[in-house]
């Protein structure tokens, strides 16, 4: 019994039919008894469970008490009280610095940065303080209880500062974990894993999917493993790798490619650092071709790291250059968002070019 995920139409985006996930062990186990809910509700459930199971867990950020601008923190303040779920002033650097301190005292600090575009004032704290705390103190101290949650990605009308995908900046920092879910059921399990993981993690939530993605999500407490990629569609001609909201675009391209007789294997990376090289390598050894797609600009995006790494390890097996279908090298545009985005057709083009190389 495969779980299904339905995407409703929204504005200019077209709707896609409900599709089945290829069943993998953990998905089946987790999908025992689920109710169809959307992404922000799944995240909300995860936060409720996290606070319920650990009395030293705290959720804070801008406007989280009333439920948050995306409703992810609804009901937490009422249930767990103002001392555990509270608003912060408008100061990202302060929020993260404070969270690191809280975590260093052994608490689970779940900080929210309202939009990933605003994470940069906190960049110094994340890179220089959080990532290196355990290392520089010789394991005497750590801020493993830190989890930063932030909505990222295009939303159709976000413009320069409500659409960015800054994940690659953080993938460059050893000591951090960067995790990106593709769907509600994945989000709940991955977020709980991040929160309970003894390393500082950043959890990027695809904001486009907050309302749009609806899936059956089990109500119980479950975790999904970090640093494990998931093959969500088996294939033999080409390997496609992506994460977050981009996977649904890749999925559409797979379906179209299948009509032309190209069998695509689709992998959800899930954790970007440390990433699951083995799964991707195994798949590339099977297919001989690789295509990576992400919304962030192509130059210096995380696709570059995957490409270089696979080129090194699978050089003789590769039958075509690794393709990267990503955002353009411009600031995220206002009016011409659809030109900037790595769309289904661009991916399809690249699949065909790679397969026919």
């Amino acid at each position: 019994m495969a779980t299904t995920m339905a995407l409703r139409s929204f504005g200019r985006r077209t709707s896609i039919a409900a599709r089945g996930f290829s069943s993998s062990c953990e998905t089946e186990k987790a999908a025992k008894d689920g109710k169809p809910i959307n992404l922000f509700s799944a995240i909300n459930q995860a936060l409720h469970i996290a606070l319920d199971t650990d009395p030293r867990a705290y959720v804070f950020g801008e406007d989280v008490r009333f439920g948050g601008v995306f409703r992810c923190t609804t009901g937490l303040a009422d249930r767990f009280g103002r001392s555990r779920v509270f608003n912060t002033p408008l100061c990202e650097q302060g929020i993260v610095g404070f969270a690191i301190g809280l975590a260093a005292m052994g608490n689970r600090a779940i900080a929210e940065i309202q939009f990933a575009d605003y994470i940069y004032p906190a960049f110094d704290q994340i890179v220089n303080e959080a990532a290196k705390f355990r290392y520089r103190s010789g394991n005497e101290f750590n801020c493993g209880g830190l989890t930063i949650r932030t909505p990222y990605g295009a939303v159709g009308h976000g413009g320069h500062y409500h659409s960015q995908s800054p994940e690659s900046f953080f993938c460059h920092v050893p000591g951090l974990k960067v995790v990106i879910p593709r769907s509600p059921q994945q989000a709940k399990g991955l977020l709980l894993s991040c929160i309970r993981d003894p390393n500082p993690s950043i959890f990027f939530e695809p904001k486009w999917l907050y309302r749009l993605a609806v899936e059956e999500v089990p109500e119980h407490d479950y975790m999904l493993p970090l640093s494990e990629a998931e093959v969500i569609r088996q294939g033999s001609d080409i390997t496609l790798v992506g994460w977050g909201a981009q996977l649904s675009v890749l999925e559409q391209a797979c379906v179209e490619a299948a009509k032309e007789g190209i069998s695509c294997e689709l992998i959800d990376l899930r954790t970007l650092i440390p990433w699951d090289k083995e799964t991707v390598e195994a798949s590339v050894r099977k297919t001989g071709k690789l295509l990576i797609s992400h919304e962030a600009p192509v130059t210096g995006g995380f696709g570059a790291e995957i490409s270089a790494s696979i080129a090194e390890s699978c050089f003789l097996r590769l039958e075509a250059p690794v393709a990267r279908i990503c955002g353009l090298d411009t600031p995220f545009p206002l009016v011409y968002e659809q030109f900037y985005m790595p769309t289904k057709n661009k991916i399809l083009d690249a699949i065909k070019a790679t397969v026919n190389y």
Binding site: N87, P89, L90, C91, Y118, L328, L334, F339, A353
Partner: protein, 417 residues
């Protein structure tokens, strides 16, 4: 949504006290300046107030609604000099701004404006009062609630609406949108989406101005939400250390998005937060008070260095068009402010009680303004979207030749124009 503390309306006496001059000269002034005969200048939208009595207009002295409160500084007098034509121009300009924002609201709801749109209605007095106190060589930099500041700096309605709708003749060529209006020739440095980021920039502008020795200053505007950003304090320290001619203006509309000021700030007395930097608290709904404070601040900054102005103001709309504005404050509060402190109504009362114009003349101005706005919208709607190639322009300096990779196929490379 419940609040533990009852919120008290900003506590200013609503009506200003007016000193009257003999009414015969008032009536004469009014006849000379009947609203219908005011010239409509399309190039610069705002009518510049006349210099005091050179053109034979008797000055009117008006007391501000409340006295100024100073922090480490002797506040200026609450008696402000103005002229009938200045009052009329204030009325017209604020009505224009109000009308512009309301029309933008409807355009947004009909999906002609997309993305983010932060409206300024209620806060017009700050933009107008500031403009009346300075020249176009002084610099203004603000956050994302910038449509009216753009107008005040001489921007046109058509440019504004075109930019809001993403058209090519917009002030930022359609590439900036609501949050990124700029006007270089009149010293308007925008238009910034990231909260608080514009304040260190503003201090940098002042640094450059100090070098030019032209007696100009920079005004860095920010909100009560941004007042808690660390970069503000860094900028304040540097400005005070180097005596930069910068005026930090906190447009305190009491809500940082949905968070009331007392929830976000330990000390909501933003004019005092400069500590070693003096500050002034101003009724931001009284355009004459704003004008007086900004004039005073400019003189101070040129001699001594930074000063903070806290404008006690209010926005009628929510934070942006996606915020109804009523979940964190009561409708009673909003209507209360509208009734007691509305900047346009205050000027209207002044004009009527000083017999500068009649009520029906003011109505005519409102009608004119409405028509102007409607015409501008109609004109802006006809303007086409930018050419797709504009997606790639201005990433770097033209002709820099940086190579980028197209997203179609790996083989496709382009050179940024």
């Amino acid at each position: 949504m419940c609040r533990e503390k009852p919120f008290h309306l900003p506590f200013f006496a609503p009506s200003s006290q007016i000193l009257r001059l003999p009414s015969s000269s008032m009536a004469a002034a009014a006849r000379r300046l009947s609203a219908a005969s005011l010239p409509l200048r399309h190039h610069h939208l705002l009518l510049r107030p006349f210099a005091s009595s050179a053109s034979g207009q008797p000055p009117i002295a008006v007391e501000t609604s409340v006295p100024f409160t100073g922090h480490k500084i002797e506040p200026p007098s609450r008696l402000v000099d103005t002229t009938p034509s200045e009052l009329l121009s204030f009325f017209r300009d604020m009505t224009l701004m109000r009308r512009m924002e309301i029309a933008a609201d409807s355009l947004y709801k009909s999906k002609l404006i997309r993305g983010f749109c932060h409206l300024y209605d209620g806060q017009e007095a700050v933009a107008i009062g500031l403009e009346a106190a300075i020249t176009k060589k002084d610099a203004i930099i603000t956050a994302y609630r910038d449509h009216c500041i753009f107008l005040a700096r001489g921007g046109s309605l058509v440019e504004s609406y075109a930019e809001l709708m993403g058209r090519r003749s917009g002030c930022s060529k359609g590439k900036g949108g609501s949050m990124h209006f700029y006007k270089k020739d009149s010293g308007f440095f925008g238009g910034h989406g990231i909260v608080g980021a514009q304040v260190p920039l503003g201090c940098g502008l002042a640094f450059a101005q100090k070098y030019t020795k032209e007696g100009t200053v920079s005004f860095a505007l920010y909100g009560d939400g941004a007042a808690n950003q660390g970069q503000l304090f860094e900028a304040l320290n540097i400005s005070a250390l180097w005596d930069l001619p910068v005026i930090l203006v906190c447009e305190n509309n009491h809500y940082g998005m949905g968070t009331a000021e007392w929830r976000a700030a330990k000390s909501p007395a933003y004019y005092k937060r400069g500590d070693y930097v003096p500050g002034l608290k101003v009724d931001g709904m009284d355009v004459l008070a704003v004008k007086q404070a900004c004039k005073f601040a400019k003189e101070y900054a040129l001699q001594n260095g930074p000063i903070i102005l806290e404008m006690d103001t209010y926005r009628y709309h929510g934070h942006s068009m996606s915020d109804p504005g009523s979940t964190y404050r009561t409708r009673d509060e909003i209507t209360g402010v509208r009734q007691e402190r509305d900047p346009i109504e205050r000027i209207r009362k002044l004009i009527l009680s000083n017999e500068v114009a009649t009520a029906s003349e003011l109505k005519d101005i409102e009608k004119e303004v409405r028509k102007e706005v409607d015409d501008a919208i109609a004109q802006a709607k006809e303007i086409p979207m930018p050419d797709p190639s504009e997606l790639f322009t201005n990433v770097y300096v033209k002709g820099f030749g940086a190579e980028v990779f197209g997203a179609d196929r790996k083989e496709v490379k382009a050179v940024l124009p």
